[in-house]
């Protein structure tokens, strides 16, 4: 599903949560939505999901305004860290409701996910741990197979093996059933390989929207003997440093051309792409006072 956002603005009293971003997502890709706490990610996703109306600007999903759209809303699934259900509902009731209301719901896939996440279907929502609530929300989000699926920090409280299950299932199901997925997260490096494009918003404004590969070429990671790395890096802008014994790895801002790579070879240094998280930290830090 194609998403067009133009000059979007959402205010809460005097606070401006979303401050005029404009961008277009062509669809059928996995998009990463990144931003610091309070950047406006959840509010932006809420508007895309028709959970709230913007104060100004427009959102179009496949050319139409999703807010109160009688058919388009059924094609959009917004997954938050907690499942949208009553505390007294049991897990099986949540799945039953999704089955009844969602047109593309896959019951067998939902059953598989509940097994993978070790979700007991007879448990009440109120009796689930934070991680289990996240697992249930993810189960609903994936098995809904909505053409536009929005995940907002869906794995809060999930342990590392369960997060791995989510990443693997998201990728496998996306490949089997291509759709538009927008995923907001703070665990950037864990899930970065899934992102085809990245959108970064900061204080409600669009900071950048690029293909992940292009974004990662904005910097480089130089690894090798510490002394040689320091000599090579010189006055470059350093995003992060890691040291293990005599070996040092430095992430620098700026793309390194063929002459730099040749020089690195001569010094027995390896040059790799920049980590998305390092780049994100750098980009959002330098914009702040």
């Amino acid at each position: 599903m194609r998403i067009e956002v133009r000059d979007l603005s959402v205010r809460f009293g005097r606070n401006v949560a979303v401050d005029g971003p404009s961008f277009t997502l062509d669809g059928d890709k996995v998009y990463g939505l990144l931003g610091r706490n309070g950047a406006g990610k959840t509010t932006l996703l809420s508007v895309l999901a028709a959970f709230r109306r913007a104060n100004a600007g427009t959102v179009r999903v496949d050319g139409e305004d999703p807010f109160e759209h009688p058919t388009l809303t059924r094609d959009i699934c917004f997954v938050r860290d907690r499942v949208d259900a009553e505390d007294t509902d049991r897990v099986r009731r949540v799945l039953q409701r999704a089955r009844d209301l969602r047109p593309y719901w896959d019951d067998a896939y939902a059953a598989k996910l509940t097994e993978l996440f070790h979700l007991a279907t007879d448990r009440k929502i109120s009796a689930l741990s934070r991680g289990m609530k996240s697992a249930l929300a993810i189960t609903v989000g994936l098995a809904t197979r909505a053409p536009l699926t929005l995940f907002d920090e869906p794995f809060l409280g999930l342990d590392a093996p369960s997060r791995r299950v989510f990443y693997d299932e998201l990728l496998a199901d996306y490949l089997a059933h291509p759709r538009t997925v927008v995923l907001s997260t703070h665990l950037i490096d864990e899930i970065a390989p899934l992102f085809e494009e990245v959108i970064i918003i900061d204080r409600g404004r669009l900071m950048l929207h690029e293909e992940t590969d292009a974004l990662r070429s904005r910097g480089a990671t130089v690894t090798g003997p510490a002394e040689a790395v320091d000599r090579f890096v010189g006055d470059m802008v350093v995003l992060s440093e890691r040291r293990l014994g005599p070996t040092k790895s430095v992430t620098v801002m700026g793309s390194l051309g063929p002459e730099w790579r040749l020089a690195a070879q001569g010094l027995d240094l390896e040059i790799g792409p920049v980590g998305l998280q390092d780049l994100f930290v750098h980009l959002t830090r330098e914009e702040r006072p």
């Binding site: 809420s46 028709a50 959970f51 709230r52 109306r53 807010f67 109160e68 759209h69 009688p70 058919t71 809303t73 059924r74 094609d75 959009i76 699934c77 917004f78 938050r80 907690r82 499942v83 949208d84 259900a85 009553e86 505390d87 009731r93 039953q96 409701r97 999704a98 009844d100 209301l101 969602r102 047109p103 929502i125 109120s126 609530k133 909505a146």
Partner: protein, 238 residues
């Protein structure tokens, strides 16, 4: 994907019924059980009046429906919107569903009368039976009262969900207006004053009261719809 306009309405009705089914069943088991015990006690005591009957059935039922109305706006609306329905579709579906629940509750209210009488007979008592005319009038009153309380709950829930802080507290009486006003016009309020006391309508009182209740329900439902038609959806669970 196109969809028949009634499909979402039916989906909401089915979902609400699935969620309420057990609660409704238990409520009526408790009401019927209590009434049977009360009937036995009244029969044993030789009581012949039937004035207690509506109070034992009407009053708990209208407050029960008030709560269901509140929950519909405060919890069911966001859940359904989160599952891809629009606020309008939910409002129409919930209105149709509660219309059926109100009518069924009024019918069930009438059915408790023979239960009470039977229990009194077993207890050794006796008393007057409902005539077709009084049964019809009681059914009408029950429908009017239940609809007004359900609408009041829906309006209260919508106010609490839509507004925050002091606004929802200040507007609480407005939300309760359909319920309180229906008590006044039907002469079932706690104040002891009714529409008939003020206007002395006589035989015209009952149809007038039911007509006024219908207006109250229409106005309350419209106000609630205005509140929820573009409300922002928040998280439901804690």
């Amino acid at each position: 994907m196109t969809t028949h306009p009634w499909r979402p309405v039916r989906a909401v009705m089915r979902e609400l019924y699935t969620g309420h089914r057990r609660t409704l069943q238990w409520f009526w088991v408790v009401v019927a059980g209590s009434l049977a015990v009360i009937g036995l006690v009244l029969g044993a005591a030789g009581a012949t009046g039937t004035r207690l009957w509506p109070d034992y059935v009407l009053t708990p039922n209208k407050y029960f429906l008030l709560v269901l109305g509140i929950l519909a706006a405060a919890t069911q609306l966001p859940i359904h919107v989160a599952h891809g329905l629009t606020r309008r579709q939910f409002a129409f579906g919930a209105t149709a569903y509660f219309g059926v629940v109100v009518a069924a509750s009024a019918a069930a209210t009438l059915l408790t009368y023979p239960l009470l009488m039977a229990a009194r007979s077993v207890g050794g008592g006796g008393g007057p039976w409902l005539t077709p005319g009084s049964a019809g009038s009681t059914f009408g009153e029950a429908v009017a009262s239940y609809a007004a309380y359900t609408c009041g709950g829906w309006l209260l829930g919508a106010l609490f969900y839509r507004l925050d802080g002091w606004r929802r507290v200040v507007l609480l009486p407005v939300g309760a207006l359909p319920a309180l006003a229906s008590d006044f016009v039907l002469g079932r309020g706690q104040t002891g004053v009714s529409l008939d006391d003020l206007l002395s309508l006589g035989a015209a009182c009952h149809p007038t009261a039911i007509g006024l209740c219908a207006l109250l329900v229409a106005a309350g439902s419209y106000a609630a719809f205005r509140l929820v038609r573009d409300v922002a959806i928040r998280k439901v669970t804690g």
